[in-house]
């Protein structure tokens, strides 16, 4: 079926919808030229458009790329390939799709592939080495997909052809040999007969010469020849003539004596001593004439007619033997051919079988390295190819696993963030969280711990992915448990450390800033486990300070001279009206611009100063948005490589604080738009807050 391709077309396009027309045109031309029916051409065009659209819309969702089209036209089939280097599909998306199920689900996904698989006779999706190939086969004309000759039959025809031609050649050789042997035998046997007849005739001639000299009687002459013809059945007729050409003796009919001898018509009477054939079809007769002489005297001639029938019989017997022998040879030959064809065909079948298994997903077993040198080479080349392909495939699977892991991690991450900030009397709150493209491990939390006290937490875990997310989720729970009813921030942190030190995987550490705000005293006490300094704005003095109590990150191995507890310093700040503080993660200070410069705390403090000097009563949400804007302006198009998290808080005027007790204070920070953009996990920089 796959003989030499008649035609091959390769084309490359920018993967954009406006090139669909050009793709269609090429496909249409190729199909029409190959003699495909108009109906099929329409369908194929549709399938190609579906495949190409899918690549443009999905494989190259996030980037521009190229789309390669390859059409290979065979005598009865056309192979279409659409090749891209974008994202690959999940295999389950390319499986069999049931129309009923599509209707049932009310979804549109998969319809394109359903259409392709309906239209084409065979569809394969291969994804390896960074390339994806959608390979489609369409038979030319009404041959259905099911009459693909099975592998065995295809092999058989190859074998049959091989056997037929070798058989033909061997038969020709044997026939030629037979012809040669037969001719030689025939000549040999005939020569033998001729020699014998010559000998008899010359004996008769010698005796007849004696009879002529002694002038024997007719009866004696007659007896002479009759005795010879009786003794030799090969001799059919012997006639003696005298020097004048009259018959002296006749073994057939005595009444012919003394009549002139009439030689048979077929022979040349001048030829003496030459065997001549009397071609009467019934019996093979031959003629030989010899002179009767005695010294110089010429008495007449012996005319002998003899049959070559016994010779033919003998020949037939020889032939029979030869035919039997050559027949046997042929049988052996055919057997040999069959074995020979095995020798060639079997390795091919084996290789084909193995390659098929590979394409259907078995990546492990290798081709047996056997057979003739050429096959050995093919098998080795295929093995090399397959190992490389399966390695690529493993990499892809690995990558997909990783993507899955990131998805899971981001899901865990989402559960870590409070949906709504609690209302804290006398304290306005605003918080912000934005995930980096790869899931990081930032956490913030605000919750009530009783007696008019609230706990504020911002934390950053060093690792990424699922393990980091799990640790974060553990951290959040542990803090919530230990913070309830606690009086001091240090006490909570110590308890948290106590619990976590056994549970943090080695190499991972967490920085935490944990603060407790006492509403009655308007006092903020906090500890920092290696976290970024808190930025504090004192409204009275109009000054910004950074507060950085000492403390090691959680998870850092404890040394002999310093343990976690002794290094942990607790700071307490009495907050006045309109005092403001900012707790954040290093996603802000370590944000980089395109040249790799870090934003840094200096810039942050400066920015806040500007904002607050300009308008001390600036709305927190506005300030928060300002920080994000400032940060984005700084980093420009550089990729955000860490989560950005911060909590902003400001004390209200003391008098109003008690009145505003019931008012829902904090804005749930992760505003829906930000959330949504982090949702579409793969999108790299979710800066598109606006619709």
């Amino acid at each position: 079926m796959f003989r030499r391709p008649i035609k091959e077309i390769n084309a490359e396009f920018v993967a954009e919808e406006r090139y669909l027309d050009s793709i269609q045109r090429i496909v249409k031309e190729a199909c029409t030229a190959a003699g495909m029916s108009r109906r099929d051409v329409t369908a194929v065009l549709l399938a190609i458009e579906e495949g190409a659209t899918n690549i443009i819309r999905h494989a190259y969702l996030y980037e521009k790329g190229t789309l390669r089209l390859r059409i290979v036209v065979y005598r009865k089939i056309i192979a279409f390939s659409l090749i891209d280097s974008g994202r690959s599909f999940h295999p389950e998306q390319t499986g069999k799709i049931d129309l009923e199920k599509l209707v049932e689900s009310g979804r549109k996904g998969g319809l394109g592939f359903y259409m392709i698989s309906k239209i084409m006779d065979s569809v394969e999706y291969i994804s390896a080495a960074g390339f994806n190939e959608l390979r489609m086969l369409k038979r030319i004309r009404g041959l259905s997909a099911t009459d693909t000759p099975p592998l065995l039959r295809r092999m058989f025809t190859l074998r049959a052809k091989f056997s037929f031609f070798t058989f033909l050649i061997v038969s020709l050789i044997i026939a030629a040999a037979f012809y040669f042997v037969d001719r030689r035998t025939k000549m040999e046997v005939r020569g033998h007969l001729e020699d014998m007849v010559w000998a008899l005739s010359s004996t008769i001639a010698d005796q007849a010469a004696g009879y002529y000299i002694n002038s024997r009687s007719d009866v004696e002459f007659d007896e002479l020849i009759v005795s010879y013809t009786r003794a030799n059945p090969t001799l059919k007729l012997v006639v003696l003539t005298d020097s004048t050409g009259l018959i002296r003796a006749h073994s057939g009919d005595i009444s012919n004596i003394r009549k002139p001898y009439q030689a048979p018509n077929e022979i040349d009477p001048q030829l003496i001593g030459v065997h001549q054939s009397l071609d009467t079809t019934q019996s093979k007769l031959n003629y030989l004439a010899l002179n009767i002489r005695a010294g110089p005297r010429f008495f007449g001639r012996v005319h002998t007619v003899y049959s070559s029938e016994p010779v033919d019989e003998k020949l037939a017997a020889v032939r029979k033997r030869i035919i039997m022998f050559t027949g046997l040879l042929l049988l052996v030959g055919i057997l040999g051919i069959y074995l020979l064809s095995n020798y060639f065909v079997k390795p091919i079948a084996k290789i084909t079988h193995r390659v098929r298994r590979f394409t259907s997903g078995d990546l492990e077993t290798e081709l047996p390295l056997e057979g003739a040198d050429e096959f050995f080479e093919i098998a080795r080349a295929l093995n090399d190819m397959m190992t490389r392909l399966s390695k690529d495939r493993r990499n892809i699977i690995e990558r997909e696993k990783m993507a899955k892991e990131i998805e899971v991690a981001s899901q865990i991450q989402k559960t870590l963030l409070p949906v709504q900030l609690p209302a804290i009397p006398g304290l306005q709150l605003d918080a912000y969280y934005r995930a980096a493209s790869v899931v990081g491990g930032d956490l913030y939390d605000v919750f009530e711990i009783g007696d008019g006290r609230f706990c504020l937490v911002v934390a950053d875990v060093s690792g990424k992915g699922v393990p980091a997310s799990l640790v974060m989720s553990m951290l959040r729970t542990v803090i919530q448990i230990h913070a309830v009813g606690a009086r001091s921030a240090k006490q909570v942190m110590l308890a948290v450390d106590d619990y976590l030190k056994a549970n943090i995987p080695p190499g991972m550490f967490i920085t935490v800033l944990l603060a407790i705000y006492d509403t009655s005293a308007s006092r903020l006490t906090f500890v920092s486990a290696g976290h970024n300094p808190m930025i504090y704005y004192q409204a009275k003095s109009g000054q910004l300070k950074t507060l950085n109590p000492t403390g090691m990150p959680l998870g850092v191995p404890v040394t002999l001279d310093r343990d976690f507890g002794s290094g942990l310093e607790e700071v307490s700040v009495e907050l006045d009206e309109n005092d403001l503080f900012l707790v954040y993660t290093d996603g802000i200070t370590e944000a980089t611009d395109r040249d790799g410069n870090q934003y840094g705390m200096g810039r942050l403090v400066e920015f806040l100063q500007q904002q607050l000097v300009g308008d001390e009563a600036i709305q927190l949400s506005k300030l928060a948005a300002g920080i994000v804007e400032e940060l984005d302006a700084f980093s420009g198009f550089a990729k955000q490589n860490d989560d950005i998290t911060f909590i902003l808080a400001r004390t209200e005027g003391r008098k109003s604080s008690s009145e505003k007790h019931q008012e829902p204070a904090g804005r749930a920070v992760i505003d829906s738009q930000t959330y949504r953009s982090t949702d579409s996990s793969a999108s790299s920089s979710p800066q598109d807050g606006d619709e």
């Binding site: 549709l46 659209t53 009923e100 599509l102 209707v103 009310g106 549109k108 319809l111 309906k118 239209i119």
Partner: protein, 134 residues
């Protein structure tokens, strides 16, 4: 490149049947326009829809997807999406892809509308099967 035009006509008894006349091609680029029209019909609870495809040369999966994805919703509300007047090229694809198991087709808009009215007069909003006459 955006070569599609869609017009909407409401007809039949009490103007219950909505006719959507489409001219052009329905592909990935133009399908959203059609989708909007169908969505708006469903939002207005107009579930008896005849799609006039006489002027449509080509329908890609995006187009078929609109019909396929809404058919269940529409039918469960006693309506249907009927395709009318497909040109041979489109009809061949419709058959080849076995969409005839899912979507009903009629030679003309009038046939499709008549079918709605028949069903309307005989069975009201009850469950309908594919048969034309009882």
């Amino acid at each position: 490149m955006d070569n599609i035009s869609i017009s909407l006509l409401e007809s039949g008894q009490d103007k219950a049947v909505s006719e959507v006349r489409i001219d052009g091609v329905i592909d990935t680029l133009t399908a959203s326009e059609l989708e909007e029209v169908i969505d708006s019909l469903i939002k207005r609870e107009r579930y008896k829809i005849v799609i006039d495809l006489a002027g449509v040369d080509y329908i890609s999966s995006a187009g078929w997807g609109i019909f396929i994805s809404h058919i269940r919703d529409v039918r469960s509300n006693g309506g249907d999406i009927k395709l009318a007047g497909m040109i041979p090229n489109v009809y061949e694809i419709y058959e080849l892809l076995e969409f005839d198991n899912v979507l009903k087709s009629y030679r003309s808009v009038d046939d499709a509308r008549a079918n709605f009215q028949e069903a309307g007069s005989s069975g009201g909003g009850k469950k309908k099967t594919g048969s034309r006459k009882p």
